[in-house]
Amino acid sequence: MKKFDKERLLLAVAGPVIALVAAIALTSVVLLASGRNPFEPYALMLEQASFSDVQVLIVNQASMYYIAALAVALGFRMNLFNIGVDGQYRLGAMMTAAVGANVSLPSFLQIPLLLLVAMLTGAFWAGIAGVLKVTRGVSEVVATIMLNAIATSLIGWLMLSDNLGVQVGNNNTTGVMKESGWFPGIDLGADVGEIYGLVFLAVLLGILYWAVLNRTRFGFDLRATGESESAAAASGVDAKRMVLISMLISGGVAGMSGLPLLLGEVHTYSLSFPAGLGFTAIGIALLGRNNPGGIAFAALLWAFLDKASPALDYATPVAYEKEIATIMQGLIVFAVVISYEAVRQWGLRRQQRQVGAELAAAAADNNSTQKEVAAR
């Protein structure tokens, strides 16, 4: 492995740290402006995080954020903005639930089948945007936003009792999935809860993401396209093919992001299945710098803000609004975008200066002709 590079690590960490500090400071300003204690809510939330039942909630939520954010990050690495992760995720979860409720195979076949259904559904939905971009030049941003809206309608229609839907009380659901498709979790006791078994799917996908991007030819082509489309084309990357393939993979991953919840807890897709995961994931991928480790950290942070904040409403003696966490999430996204760009440019200039200085020192030794031809 590469030798430990202090400088690079510093640069990588500086961005998120600056962003977080700025976001926390700004949140405190908001609190002050509304006449509240600017620090107590943080203490209250941190206290929440020390309870094991909240920790379980955080890990479970983070696993879904993580998978969805990987889907977004994959697109980001080649300058593709897949805003449609949300639609791909909901459609994937819905189709998986429907198949799970209507097909009954032994577990060792049922679960792979469900994973495959989720993946293919997501890939199909993202693939529409990919094909449109490759053949007609339609911006993937526009196409995926539209597909999100279409997914909502499509899901509504599919969930009618005439189609795949099953009415349960007031709620439209896809019916309860066959038990062979339930994924066992890690039970930590009645008052603590259960960690979804598919948390490991998230970890596995994170490792795969790293390996594919950094250790395969495909990953190199993808990163090269993201860094310089013209240089990638000259090096022999077929841009259209890359766009299509990465859209399909991104969609496939997005399609699986609802599975930890679906296979681990609710076992049915209903109208109360959480929406908006795909949008949150965009912020998480940004904060995590499209890096698998960074995304894991960002997903956990986001899940922490989500799951530790409800307690603010019931805090004594003074209650706080739990929306403080939402304000923080918003500010983090803002701060992240600004601080990353600033740190990136600063780092690049710094390195150029350093290289220049080192070479000047070397050149001073042999005093060779560093003169450009132009100088003659």
Binding site: K2, D5, R8, N214, R215, T216, R217, F218, G219, F220, D221, R223, A224, E227, S228, S230, A231, A233, A234, S235, G236, V237, D238, L348, Q351, Q352, Q354, V355, G356, E358, L359, A362, A363, S368, T369, Q370, K371, E372, V373, A374, R376
Partner: protein, 505 residues
């Protein structure tokens, strides 16, 4: 009418940007009407009556001519009748023949250019800067443009005209300034100047080039190009799906401009074919068709007898086509990636960069090791292989690229300006490498603005003008001055060196 000529990268554009307020000068002054001025933005320049027509038009396609003209200066004459009257008036006065209500997307390139000129005049410009206005036009349109410009001149306006097409410059300009490498190297009066003298000024006398001693040319053809045609994509409004037949008829009608026009050549093993030409005469398109970045519209390309015309870029590269691009930042490097990743670029499927079937797995260790070797062997001055490519100087970036391409033992090397912006030592080194590979049977297509480099390295010389190979010459006898005159289109056919220096071939 004042013309500013010089090779690409000579500093013409920078100078114009300063004049137009887009960039600030470090030193020196600008005077307008005898009064010293400083511009901090294009708005200041416009207020002083300086207007610029960019090489790439800045028009909104889905707006009408009227809307485009008033856009941003709605306060001058309103956006309705007043503006229309004014546009009509300007158009009639200078014979621009612009219809205010036409939709810009329906206009041809020449019409768009006239709209751009009108836009500048509408804002009250007294001095017009035209940045390579003829680059996108076909000859008849060029004549029409010059007619318009003469009209402007006779109405008392000043025109600054940037170009590197010497023939045109001589035909329209009243005064010529030649710049090279950022400084004025001469001025000329067109009536007393020949294209050749101008070319000499532009190119200058360069460093002495080491001659290629003995010929290594064999009779084994490596690359054969037959009747290659590449259409200038900027001049056609056709979609990608246009059937070839229709394109052919467009070509026959002369309705589209050909960037590469019926080019044929063969390069044998051990041969360096040099192509001389003023930039913008089809070299870029020729290179891109050879490496596969643009598809050849007609004609064939064969590598050692095997037709490669339909091959994608990667396949060509895997089969031994090396590429030293003319714009290393755009086509040769990932600037923000470390050097060893840049060493992989373009050869990701080959050893030592990857292993497994079709190079499925990347081999960072192998690539890093080999990068260290390249850095050592090609004297790339860098503190390490983990620094980004952007932090190296241009010359060192170029050495890395040359090292990378040579390492893969290409059979055919496309070398575009291989020593541009490279220091003297590295230049000689790159020449040595090309010569050494040539001895081992490499075929090289050399495109360069440095005429001494061309003459010194090439076994065969061709001149490209307007997309055609118009002349050939023997590098053993030809002089840069003779070559320069052919580059302007003044001489065609086989160029014979005549001892007295007269050459009217």
């Amino acid at each position: 009418m004042h013309a500013l000529v010089g090779e690409n990268g000579a500093g013409k554009s920078t100078l114009m940007k300063i004049l137009y307020g887009m960039q600030k000068p470090d030193e020196g002054t600008i005077a307008v009407d005898g009064e010293q001025v400083t511009f901090s933005s294009p708005a200041d320049a416009i207020a002083r009556g300086i207007g610029m027509v960019h090489q790439h038009f800045m028009l909104a396609d889905n707006f009408t001519v009227l809307e485009n003209v008033v856009l941003g200066s709605e306060k001058l004459h309103g956006i309705g009748g007043g503006a229309r009257r004014k546009i009509k008036e300007i158009s009639d006065r200078y014979g621009l023949n612009v219809r205010p209500d036409a939709l810009v997307e329906n206009l041809g390139v020449a019409d768009r250019q006239r709209v751009e000129i009108l836009k500048v005049l509408y804002r009250g410009a007294k001095t017009l800067i035209l940045d390579e206005p003829t680059a996108v036009l076909v000859p008849q349109e060029v004549d029409a443009l010059f007619e318009n410009l003469r009209e402007l001149k006779s109405e008392g306006l000043a025109v600054i005209f940037i170009s590197h097409k010497l023939g045109e410059v001589l035909s329209v300009a009243d005064d010529i300034t030649v710049i090279r490498r950022g400084t004025t190297v001469g001025t000329a009066v067109p009536a007393e100047t020949t294209p050749r003298q101008l070319a000499e000024l532009m190119v200058g006398s360069e460093l002495p080039t080491p001659e290629t001693s003995e010929s290594t040319v064999t009779d084994r053809p490596v690359i054969e190009v037959r009747d290659l045609i590449v259409v200038d994509k900027g001049t056609i409004q056709l979609s990608n799906q246009t059937p070839a037949g229709m394109l052919m008829s467009e070509v026959e009608r002369g309705a589209v401009k050909l960037a590469v026009d019926n080019v044929s050549f063969t390069i044998h093993a051990g041969e360096v074919l040099g192509i001389a030409g003023v930039e913008g005469n089809g070299q870029t398109e020729l290179i891109e068709a050879l490496i596969g970045l643009q598809s050849a519209d007609f004609g064939t390309i064969a590598l050692e007898g095997e037709e490669i015309t339909p091959w994608p870029t990667r396949k060509r590269r895997e089969h031994g086509v090396g590429y030293i691009p003319e714009d290393r930042h755009r086509h040769g490097l990932l600037l923000e990636a470390p050097l060893w990743e840049n060493r992989i670029l373009g050869h990701v499927t080959e050893k030592p960069n990857s292993k497994g079937k079709r190079g499925f797995w990347l081999d960072p260790k192998g690539a890093q090791e080999d990068t260290r070797r390249i850095v050592e062997a090609y004297d790339v001055r860098t503190p390490g292989i983990d620094v980004t490519a952007a932090s190296l100087s241009g010359g060192n970036q170029q050495k890395l690229i040359v090292g990378r391409e040579m390492t893969h033992k290409p059979r055919f090397l496309i070398a575009a300006h291989p020593t541009r912006g490279v220091d003297v030592g590295a230049q000689a080194q790159i020449w040595d490498q090309i010569r050494e590979a040539r001895r081992e049977g490499l075929a090289v297509l050399l495109i360069s603005a440095d005429l001494d480099e061309l003459i010194g390295l090439s076994d065969t010389l061709r001149v490209i003008y307007n997309g055609r190979l118009v002349a050939d010459a023997d590098p053993a006898t030809i002089t840069p001055e003779e070559l320069g005159s052919a580059m302007t289109g003044a001489a065609t056919g086989h160029l014979e060196h005549i001892e007295s220096g007269e050459d009217d071939a």
